[in-house]
Amino acid sequence: MKSKLFVSLLLVIVILAACAPPTVAPPAEKPAAKAGFKIAMVVKNLGNPFFEAAQKGCNEAAAEYGDECIFQGPATPTAEGQIEIIDALIAQKVDVIAITANDPDALVPVCKKAMDAGIKVVTWDSAVAPAGRQIFVNQADMEQIGRIEVQMLAEMIGYKGQIAILSAAATMANQNTWIEWMKEELKDPKYKDMELVTTVYGDDLREKSYNEALGLFKSYPDLKGIISPTTVGIAATARALTDEGLCGKIALTGLGLPSEMAEYIKSGCCKAMALWNPIDLGYMTTVVSHLMASGEITGKPGETFKAGKLGERTIVDDGAGGGMVLLGPPFQFNAENIDQWKDVY
């Protein structure tokens, strides 16, 4: 009886407290500030070293420009998780949301909602569809990234044999575009003896990517090379090749983080790979976010600005009428230069 009374008492208190009218809503005025913006960097998923490197760049730029970098992402790379996060960021009245999308289409409604609430929406790495963004910070030219990976692999396998692609998730806009350009590059007659047998998806999860790599070894005993255009995938494939003793038999290239791939590049398991600097990408995204928030740029093609330590940039047309900023060309890593970079990112 006593406990019942206690519970009901507690209940009444709780309900009263929970239902108390909200104190005056936080002021919604937007001062024409030049600094102190809340910039939310939303990534595909947490625990991914590539995005952790981008966070470093975000923090660096935020410190330089006097802003706050909020770094957030779902546990697994899903659009639902990102939508939930963006909604919470809208409720927090952040100034900019800078997102790399798990699904370019499913995020459009929530990004529009953010823009309606007066929040600037910047997209980077993997773009939201044009309707859901104001500017796109592109790591490197999509075409260049796709073509360079095929060129590197062809060199390794002597322009001959079966090859496969181990990508992130089937919904990723960036990987899908690169893969389109890989297929385009493969149409060149000099690749006539190379055959792309399949594309598999490791969903940017280490275990799944590892298992997909093992699956490739089993399904295609004559496989000569693998391209993995994702940092999680290439590291998992390198580990699978090493564990199965297939290094040297199956060549590997793609986009990898120097710190994760150094041992495999040195062992010859992955002779060469490419990437841009994710710290710089995070930095550039944050600078663009700052300038969008302060109104110094609006995201229209033709505008120029100074991107801090990275120098002058011009906003170019993204091909759909919107604005795009290019970080720079992809950088190739091999046994000769990997030592310089493996401690950087």
């Binding site: 936080p26 947490l46 899903t78 639902e80």
Partner: protein, 330 residues
Amino acid sequence: MTVKARAVPSPSILSGLLLRWEWLLVVLLGIACMVNASLSPYFLDVHNLFDMTFHFMERSLIALPMAFIIISGNIDLSVASNLGMSTIIMAASYKAGLNIWLAMLLGLAAGAVGGLINGLLVARVRLPSLVVTLGTYALYRGVAFVILGDLVVTGFPSSFTAIGQGYVGHTPIPVPLVIFAFFAVLFGLLLHRTAFGRLVYAVGNNETACRFSGVAVDRIRIILFTLSGLMSALAGVVLSARFGSARPNIALGFELDVITAVVLGGVDINGGQGTMPGVVLALFLIGVVRYGMSLKNVPGQIQNTLIGMLLIVAILLPQFLRRLASRSRA
């Protein structure tokens, strides 16, 4: 999942336990609201509170029939895959030129058929529901990928996307919340106010006794799985309307979230016990806890860890209370 005959506690103690469980959820919900409100100035805002519900209404729609199925001593692991299959059938037929509302009906029918197949395999072939729905879990998702591959369907008309993104008139009340409220009341009445509902408990408590008493156990099972398929398809309609797009990997992993909420709601995973108010409270509890953590920018992994802890408490606490109750009686 076989249903073992268990000693059923006397009704007064049983209802006492249930009552206490729902009170506990109310208290937890109140605490969650208080903690959120004290940690974030953005929580106690009518618009934000209503908008919060957008994120778990699809799961909630599936949780309603899931509660029935678990109470009846079964489980349905295929719900998210069935959602994927029916949504892709809807989206693909819309893309092929079918009117969106006809496409929607087709999707709902596909979901119901998916559920019916589960029900027939469980009831007529007498296979364990865990095995059957584990099979269709893979099968239905596979069908979605076969139909659409890596493609996406977008460009739904705004009258359709309003189902998932819209508000009722000029109020801040989201349309999905209204849809859920309607079905929550419907399923609540079905479980607690009809003979059918009482039979669902009976089947979950002692299937053999029910069969000997002439209860149409098989028919009940088939109805429940078909309902589950239909509601999964409806959740798919709401979800694809909210996304304004549909891909074969839609709602991947939802089944575990749904089962988590149902179990947290006090539904006994072994069947025979549970209430609709408990399930609805648990859905909102998880939603509020998640939203509060999102407002404080708590990383995704830590959010999952906390939800997992909530579930473990949900499983341990009733057993602890039961043991306490039996000790006090002894």
